[in-house]
C-alpha cells in the first residue's frame, strides 16, 4: 500500500500518525519494554514516561493528571463512562456514535431528539431530565458529531443538566473534537470526557477517559488495578507515549491548522457546488468543525458515488459501516430529519493535518466527475 497513491479525505475515520508521535513510541516498542507497574529501576524509568504522558494529556484537557484514565480507545472510554455510571437511567441524543448510543439503548436508557443541524434539542433533554419517575445518572452528549461535524454548545447542555438533572453526570464523547476545539473549553462543562488517539495523529487502540475527581465510577475492566483501579490491564506504554506527543502537537497547532484546513474545506465544497449547485451542505459551516465537509447529492446513491471515488483513488465515506462492511443508512441524518432519498446521497469528506491544496483540488474534481457520470447514466425514476 502506497498512501501517496490516494487522495485521502477520510480523516474523521482515522488520520495518519504524526511523525513525532511515531518517533516517540519507537523506544517503547524495543529497548524500553519494561512493565511500568514493576518494582525495579527499569520499570520506574518506563513509569516516568507514562506519568509524563498523563501530565501532558491533562494539560491539554485542562484537568488534573489524576483525572486521566488511559483506555484501549474511544469506544472503551465511552463504555466505561456510561456503564460505570448507570446507577440510574442513561440519556443521549439520537446522533451519538454507536459507542454511546448502543450502550444507552442496551441499558434501557432514553434517546432524545436533535434539531435539523444535529444539535441536541435542549427542551427535549430538559423534559427527559424532569421525569422524576426515572432519575438519570448520566447524560452523554458528543462534543463534535463524527458524521456531519456539528459542534455542541456544551455550556448550554451543561446548564440544562445542572438545572434539571438532579445530580446527573455529564459525559462527552470528544473523539472528533481534539483537532478543532479547545478541549479545555469542553472540559470546563463536563464530568467525563472521552478521546481516541488515532483521531489526532496518535496510534490506534489507545484513548483517554477523563473523569472529574470525586465522581463515582465503577470500573469496566477489572484485574491488576492499574489506573487507580479504574482500568486494569498492563499499560499500552508505546501507545500512551505516542498519544501524548500527538495531542500536545495537535493542541499547539490547532488555531493555525483550523484556519488553514477550514480554507481548504471551503475551497473543496465551493468548487463542488459551483459545478453541482444541487448539492446540499447538510449543516451550515458556522455550526461545524473546520475539517468536515458533509454533502448530500440528491438522486445519487452514495454506494455508487463511493465506488467511483474509490476507483479514482479518492478515500471518502458516507455513514458508518456494519460488520459486513456494507453502508448502513445514517441514523444521524435520519434523526436530523433529512429525507431518506436525500440521505441516500450523503457524502462525508474530512480533512486533517496532512491535507494539501492539491488533495482538495483533486478531490473536488473527482466528486464532480463521479456525480456527473452517475447523473448521466442513472435513468430518472
Amino acid at each position: 500500500v502506497d498512501a501517496t497513491a490516494y487522495t485521502y479525505l477520510d480523516h474523521a475515520a482515522t488520520t495518519p500518525m504524526r511523525p513525532a508521535a511515531v518517533q516517540a513510541m519507537l523506544p517503547y516498542l524495543s529497548e524500553r519494554f519494561a512493565n511500568p507497574s514493576g518494582s525495579h529501576r527499569f520499570s520506574r524509568e518506563v513509569r516516568k514516561a507514562v506519568d509524563d504522558a498523563r501530565e501532558t494529556v491533562a494539560q491539554v484537557i485542562g484537568c488534573q493528571p489524576g483525572e486521566v484514565i488511559f483506555t484501549g480507545g474511544g469506544t472503551e472510554a465511552d463504555n466505561t463512562a456510561l456503564l460505570g455510571a448507570d446507577n440510574g437511567a442513561l440519556v443521549c441524543p439520537a446522533t451519538e456514535h454507536h459507542a454511546v448510543l448502543d450502550v444507552v439503548r442496551r441499558a434501557g436508557g432514553s434517546v432524545v431528539a436533535v434539531d435539523e443541524t444535529g444539535h441536541v434539542d435542549l427542551v427535549a433533554l430538559a423534559a427527559r431530565l424532569d421525569d422524576a419517575a426515572s432519575p438519570v445518572s448520566a447524560v452523554s452528549v458528543m462534543a463534535v458529531n463524527n458524521e456531519v461535524g456539528t459542534i455542541t454548545d456544551m455550556a448550554a447542555v451543561a446548564a440544562v443538566v445542572a438545572r434539571h438533572g438532579r445530580g446527573a453526570m455529564l459525559h462527552t464523547d470528544a473523539v472528533q473534537a481534539a483537532c478543532w476545539v479547545d478541549l479545555r473549553d469542553v472540559w470546563a462543562h463536563v464530568d467525563m470526557l472521552s478521546l481516541s488517539a488515532h483521531k489526532f495523529g496518535g496510534p490506534k487502540g489507545v484513548g483517554v477517559l477523563a473523569v472529574r475527581a470525586g465522581s463515582p465510577l465503577r470500573p469496566l475492566i477489572i484485574g491488576g488495578g492499574q489506573e487507580r483501579e479504574r482500568r486494569s490491564g498492563t499499560h499500552n506504554v508505546p501507545g500512551i507515549v505516542a498519544m501524548a506527543s500527538a495531542l500536545q502537537e495537535t493542541d499547539a497547532e490547532r488555531v493555525c491548522e483550523t484556519e488553514r484546513i477550514g480554507a481548504l474545506r471551503d475551497f473543496l465544497v465551493d468548487t463542488i457546488r459551483e459545478s453541482l449547485p444541487e448539492v446540499i451542505e447538510t449543516v451550515p459551516r458556522a455550526r461545524k468543525v473546520a475539517g468536515s465537509a458533509h454533502l448530500c447529492v440528491p438522486g445519487v446513491e452514495n454506494e455508487s458515488l463511493l465506488f467511483l471515488l474509490d476507483e479514482a483513488g479518492v478515500c471518502a465515506s458516507a455513514a458508518s459501516a456494519c460488520a459486513s462492511g456494507a453502508m448502513e443508512p445514517s441514523h444521524v441524518l435520519a434523526a436530523m430529519g433529512v429525507p431518506i432519498d436525500v440521505a441516500r446521497g450523503a457524502l462525508r469528506l474530512t480533512l486533517g493535518s496532512t491535507t494539501t491544496a492539491d488533495d482538495v483540488h483533486v478531490g473536488a474534481h473527482a466528486v464532480i466527475a463521479a456525480v456527473q457520470r452517475l447523473q448521466m447514466r442513472t435513468v430518472p425514476a
Partner: protein, 349 residues
C-alpha cells in the same frame, strides 16, 4: 471486459471470479448485503462476507459490499410473509434473483461502467434459434437454470455464468487447485433469512398470526387439526396431525379462507393442466399449441406439456401425462422441447 462478480462467500462464485481472471477480464468482487436479521445459512452472514473478502484478497481483486437490505425486504421478505398469509408458497431465491441480482445489481453495475455481471450459478447462456437464452448447467444434478429463468433479454447479453459449463466436482477441484479457502465449503441449501434452528415456523410466527385449521377428507369428514394453516403446503405428507399407519395421505387442497386442509391419496394430487401468472419470456411467447418441457421445482424433472392458452401474462399448459399439483407461488418454467434452453416462466396460481 470489465466484470462485476457477485461473491457470496461460496465455492461456486469463488471459482467464477478465478475463471474470469484467468480469461483476462478486469474483475471486481461484490457481496450483496441483503438480510439484516439473524441468519445461519445464507449468503449475507458476516462469516460469508469474510470468506468472500478473503477469496478476493487471495485473487488480488477489489471487493466491495453493497447494502441492498431495503430492496430485499421490499421484494423478497415482505412478499414472502404476505404470501403465506394468503396461502401462497413463494420461492424467495427466485424473487431475489429477479429483483436483486438481475435487476438492482445489474443496474448498479451498468451505472458504474461494468460490461457484465457474473454469478456462480450452475447455468449457461446459450444460443437457441439464433438468440441468447438461459441454458441448463453442465452438471445436471446441480443445474440452477430454474432459479435464474427470469433473466430479461437485456441481461442475457450482459450476464456471465463462468462455472455453468463445469460439474460441481470440477468446480471444487479447481478451487482446491487454486488453494481457495472455500474449496470444501458446503453448499448453502436453505432460505438465507430463515435459521435452521427456528425454521419457517418461527420466522413466520414472529410476523403473522397463525390460524388453526381443520383437516378433512375428500367427503368433508373431520379428521384432525393443524395449529397453523399458513404452514401447510399442497402435496405435504407430514405434520398434518394425522395418526401414523394406514394409507399415505397427502394435502390435496388448502382453503385458507375457511382454514380447511383436505387430505387424500396420491392420485387425488394429480392434475391434467397447470396455469401460471406473471409470465415473462426471453424473446416473446411461443405459439399456442407448442409443446414445451415444464419444470415446477428447483430440482424436479421437466415434463412435456402443451401451451394451450396465453392471456396477457397468464398461461395455461396441458400436461402430456397428469402431474402432481403445484403449490400456488412456485415458479413454472418452460424449456424448449429439447429441455435445454429456458423460454420463459411464471408463477403457479
Amino acid at each position: 471486459m470489465k466484470v462485476l462478480v457477485a461473491l457470496s462467500g461460496g465455492v461456486d462464485s469463488s471459482v467464477a471470479a478465478a475463471e474470469l481472471l484467468a480469461d483476462g477480464h478486469e474483475v471486481v468482487g461484490i457481496t450483496m448485503r441483503l438480510w439484516g436479521g439473524s441468519s445461519d445459512t445464507g449468503c449475507c452472514s458476516v462469516a460469508d462476507v469474510d470468506d468472500a473478502r478473503r477469496v478476493a484478497q487471495q485473487l488480488g481483486i477489489d471487493h466491495v459490499v453493497f447494502n441492498f437490505t431495503d430492496d430485499f425486504h421490499r421484494h423478497v421478505v415482505d412478499p414472502y410473509v404476505a404470501a403465506h398469509q394468503q396461502g401462497v408458497t413463494p420461492n424467495p431465491c427466485i424473487e431475489c434473483n429477479r429483483h436483486l441480482k438481475f435487476d438492482r445489481l445489474a443496474e448498479r453495475a451498468d451505472v458504474l461502467g461494468f460490461d457484465a455481471v457474473a454469478t456462480g450459478h450452475h447455468a449457461q447462456i446459450g444460443h437457441f434459434g439464433g438468440r441468447p437464452h438461459v441454458r441448463r448447467g453442465a452438471d445436471a444434478a446441480k443445474d440452477q437454470s430454474y432459479v435464474v429463468h427470469m433473466l430479461p433479454e437485456r441481461e442475457l447479453h450482459r450476464t456471465l455464468f463462468p462455472v455453468g459449463h463445469l460439474t460441481k466436482t470440477d468446480v471444487r477441484a479447481r478451487a482446491t487447485a487454486r488453494g481457495l479457502r472455500t474449496a470444501a465449503k458446503p453448499d448453502s441449501q436453505d432460505v438465507c433469512f430463515i435459521t435452521s434452528t427456528g425454521g419457517r415456523e418461527q420466522f413466520l410466527g414472529e410476523r403473522i398470526p397463525f390460524r388453526a385449521g381443520t383437516v378433512v377428507d375428500g367427503d368433508g369428514r373431520r379428521l384432525g387439526e393443524v395449529p397453523a394453516v399458513e404452514l401447510v403446503t399442497l402435496g405435504q405428507r407430514r405434520g398434518i396431525g394425522l395418526p401414523g399407519g394406514g394409507p399415505k395421505r397427502y394435502v390435496i387442497a388448502v382453503d385458507h379462507q375457511a382454514a380447511t386442509v383436505t387430505v387424500g391419496d396420491e392420485h387425488d394430487l394429480l392434475r391434467s393442466s397447470i396455469s401460471a401468472d406473471a409470465t415473462t419470456w426471453a424473446h416473446g411467447a411461443p405459439e399456442v399449441g407448442a409443446t414445451v418441457m415444464v419444470q415446477t421445482s428447483a430440482h424436479g424433472d421437466a415434463r412435456p406439456a402443451r401451451l394451450v392458452q396465453i392471456i396477457d401474462d397468464r398461461i395455461t399448459l396441458d400436461w402430456q401425462q397428469p402431474q402432481r399439483a403445484v403449490a400456488a407461488g412456485q415458479s413454472v418454467v418452460c424449456y424448449d422441447d429439447g429441455n435445454l434452453f429456458v423460454l420463459g416462466g411464471g408463477i403457479a396460481r
